[in-house]
């Protein structure tokens, strides 16, 4: 039973345009949601997070939106750059769960020059 789902395995966008990556979850007890970026042959690196008590968090070109009623979050990258091409994982955790991350299956983003 997947608690965190990324239904789009891949996304291709033009450089300079907006990239929108989506994530759905089923467990209403999650306290935090995180996005990780992963390049080939490397470990995941933290990108941005949002607390369940907020609906938006922004960091430079990256913004995460949380819609708790729909159990949906999205990552917006504006403007997209070729260096953003990577696999993006959505993850969630409960603050009382020893910080165990529950991951989605990932979305491969390709930003075309």
């Amino acid at each position: 039973d997947q608690q965190v789902k990324q239904n789009s395995p891949s996304l291709s966008v033009q450089e300079g345009r907006i990239s929108i990556l989506n994530c759905d979850y089923t467990n209403s007890m999650f306290d935090y949601f995180l996005w990780y970026k992963k390049y080939p042959a490397e470990g995941p690196t933290f990108l941005i997070s949002i607390s369940s008590i907020k609906d938006k968090n922004e960091d430079g070109r990256f913004t995460v939106f949380l819609n708790k009623s729909a159990k949906h979050l999205s990552l917006h990258i504006v403007p997209s750059q070729p260096g953003d091409s990577a696999v993006y994982f959505c993850a969630a955790l409960r603050g009382d769960s020893s910080y165990k991350l529950i991951f989605g299956s990932g979305t491969r983003l390709l930003v075309r020059p």
Partner: protein, 114 residues
């Protein structure tokens, strides 16, 4: 800064062999984790530890064992390797506070069982 270091980076095992994936972190983190990532899938938690001497099972613990004798080290033992254990393994650690943004991952260990 070394961060989270995993060895080996690549390994080929024969069915039935055993091996240990090493993980060490130099950030004095209490929490450590082992994940595996299969092709096209997200990371699944194998085992985790909240401190030296304490370990617990994650989502997919079968076929693995761990120990945590020191804060720095969290080795993952594969006993009687099977083709289903062909995967990429990631070790991670965190101090255990905040929004989880301080969860650091190693670079991964690619394991093939033939």
């Amino acid at each position: 800064n070394a961060g989270v270091t995993q060895t080996p980076k690549f390994r080929i095992l024969k069915i039935g062999q055993s091996m240990t994936l090493q993980c060490t972190q130099d950030m004095n983190h209490n929490y450590m984790y082992w994940y595996r990532q299969d092709p096209g899938m997200g990371l699944k938690l194998i085992y985790y530890s909240v401190g030296a001497g304490i370990t617990d099972k994650g989502e997919v613990p079968n076929g693995y064992n761990v120990s945590r004798s020191t804060t720095e080290d969290f080795p993952l033992r594969l006993e009687l390797a099977a083709p289903s254990q062909t995967s990429v393994y990631f070790c991670a650690s965190t101090r255990g506070e905040g929004a989880g943004n301080t969860i650091y991952f190693g670079e991964g260990s690619w394991l093939t069982v033939v």
